[in-house]
């Protein structure tokens, strides 16, 4: 049987709806479905396979391609890279950057690395205090300046401290900022130039909808992103933002945040998303 456009219409519509209801941004969902349609139209299918199944298999392939992009093994990177490994965390307001740094600090400590945290959010009320409480709980050194200080200077200081004290990793927090705020995006570029982080991690939330595309695009344009950590996946989110962000940045999703405790960080698996999509 040769698949026609007409055969595919119904099944592809169902799949597009599934993607949209899973928070995959509209332009990304449309592009995935268009690719599948182009690939499958005119293809032969076995009589025993339903068109729905063929389309679903094609969708799994398309999604896997997007999510398996440029895989970066975080643990391996940290193990092999020259010291200190400098990692910055960027993203819009409230996505979970500070909490994620605490989770990663715990994880790295368990792997016996020496960690320094840089209090690079010098703007928001209570930001330095928040990170300081995490650092104290974790028994990790934190470098801070006064509120209102230059974030690049704080992070630079932390890197110097790490070099002088033979620390393995520097985790640099930055203030949340909207991708539409030109001054703050310029500040981010400046931090990148001064600090030259080895990894720039984009932190966004699994509950974000279509805006995930806009912010991933503008952040990636400003300071190329090495990978993403998707937080709040425990809020029953289907996590389509993972697809949107991976598609736009061409970089992998490294971890999922699955709660507010230090242990609530797990490596991202493509299957996690596929299971939620089809449930």
């Amino acid at each position: 049987v040769v698949l026609t456009e007409k055969d595919l219409e119904g099944p592809l519509w169902e799949l597009e709806m599934a993607l949209l209801e899973s928070d995959v941004a509209l332009p990304v969902a449309e592009s995935i479905i268009a690719t599948i349609k182009a690939d499958l139209t005119g293809q032969h299918k076995k009589l025993l396979h339903s068109t729905g199944d063929v389309a679903q298999d094609a969708l799994v392939d398309a999604i896997s391609k997007i999510l398996n992009v440029n895989t970066l093994d975080f643990d391996e990177y940290v193990r092999n890279h020259a010291r200190p490994v400098v990692i910055s965390f960027i993203g819009v307001n409230g996505t979970g950057k500070t909490t994620t740094i605490a989770k990663l600090a715990e994880r790295l400590k368990e792997q016996k690395y020496g960690v320094v945290i840089a209090a690079g959010d010098t703007f928001r009320a209570g930001a330095i205090e928040q990170l300081e409480r995490h650092a104290d709980r974790l028994g990790v050194k934190m470098i801070k300046h006064q509120q209102g200080a230059d974030p690049a200077a704080v992070i630079y200081d932390a890197v110097q401290y790490a070099k002088n004290n033979k620390k393995d990793v520097v985790l640099a927090d930055t203030a949340g900022r909207l991708h539409t705020n030109v001054n703050l995006m310029e500040q981010l570029k400046k931090i990148g130039r001064v600090v030259r982080p080895d990894l720039t991690i984009f932190v966004d939330e699994a509950i974000a909808g279509n805006d995930a595309v806009e912010r991933a695009r503008l952040f990636n344009d400003a300071v190329p992103v090495s990978g993403t950590i998707l937080t709040k996946a425990d809020a029953d989110a289907k996590g389509g933002a993972a697809i949107s962000i991976a598609h736009i940045t061409g970089k992998p999703i490294l971890f999922l945040g699955v709660g507010q405790e230090y242990k609530d960080l797990k490596k991202f698996e493509t299957q996690w998303f596929l299971d939620r999509l089809f449930e």
Partner: protein
């Protein structure tokens, strides 16, 4: 863009128009895509678009209105039906409970609302009931100090209910008591219970659900859970100073049978506005 054409369509009322089915199909398709990109709940978008299409095909357009404007005018009325009113905020003594998902902007909005009431001549006081987030008390105290707004908290105490009970007593002489709570989501059953226990302390005038403008398809489910637990009286949409359209708020208000009270458009205490339905609708349709 649709937002501006919508404004024109609503204003235009000249001589008799006829119905062009193809144009209607095209415009409804555009509206559908705009709403989905604005994060309106997909099921709600489908329901609204078929309602809009039916009305466009069966209702006579006002004189002089072409089919495109005819559809846009119907879209406007359908959306106004959902978000057309702004939550009434009385300028009198009251208690307000701020609830919502993690990171949505509750603490920042609490300080903005305190400032709102100060400017209206009322005396606000803030109660910090977030016992989970490290530095929550520091954040709130710094924001309140800057505004000269009295605040209450018990940094060592893990019992949020006790803190609110004590805080309501300690701040009794102030007109408006605003309780900032910890972020929580529908699946965190012990936190949902804590929220119910706080609510049980006093008949709060307002229970405001603080929602991030960028929230996706989860908005509907989360809003329902908060509403089932304590009954939401109004919604605040934050971070509208970005590119997010706030479509999630549409489902939130239609599912909780409430309205939008305020919008947040920045990080400082002045960045709070009363909700304007027309502005919201035009922005939603891009």
């Amino acid at each position: 863009n649709l937002g501006n054409s919508l404004k024109d369509a609503v204003k235009k009322l000249a001589n008799a128009g006829k119905i062009d089915r193809q144009v209607i199909d095209e415009v409804v398709k555009d509206i559908q895509r705009a709403m989905i990109q604005a994060d309106v709940n997909v099921r709600l978008v489908m329901k609204l678009s078929s309602q809009i299409k039916n009305r466009a095909l069966t209702e006579a357009p006002p004189a002089g209105m072409d089919s495109r404007e005819h559809v846009l005018r119907i879209v406007y009325t359908e959306l106004v039906n959902i978000v057309g009113k702004t939550t009434p905020i009385a300028l009198e003594p009251q208690t307000i409970m701020m609830v919502g998902l993690q990171g949505s902007g509750k603490t920042t909005t609490t300080s903005k609302i305190a400032r709102f009431f100060s400017r209206k001549g009322l005396k606000p006081a803030v109660i910090c009931a977030d016992t989970y987030r490290p530095g929550a008390y520091d954040q709130l105290s710094q924001l309140c100090e800057k505004l000269g707004v009295p605040y209450y908290g018990e940094p060592g105490n893990k019992d949020a209910v006790a803190i609110v009970r004590n805080g309501l007593k300690a701040m009794a002489k102030y007109d408006v008591k605003i309780v900032d709570t910890a972020g929580r989501h529908a699946l965190e059953t012990d936190l949902i219970q804590e929220m119910k226990d706080i609510y049980a302390l006093t008949p709060f005038t307002h229970k405001l659900l603080v929602l991030d403008a960028a929230i996706g398809q989860q908005a509907s489910e989360q809003a329902k859970a908060f509403n089932d637990a304590i009954g939401i009286t109004g919604v605040v949409i934050t971070k509208l100073d970005g590119t997010a359209k706030g479509g999630g708020a549409l489902s939130a208000v239609s599912d909780t049978n409430t309205s939008i009270a305020f919008i947040g458009v920045g990080e400082t205490p002045d960045d709070l506005e009363r909700f304007d339905p027309d502005g919201f609708i035009s922005r939603l349709l891009g």
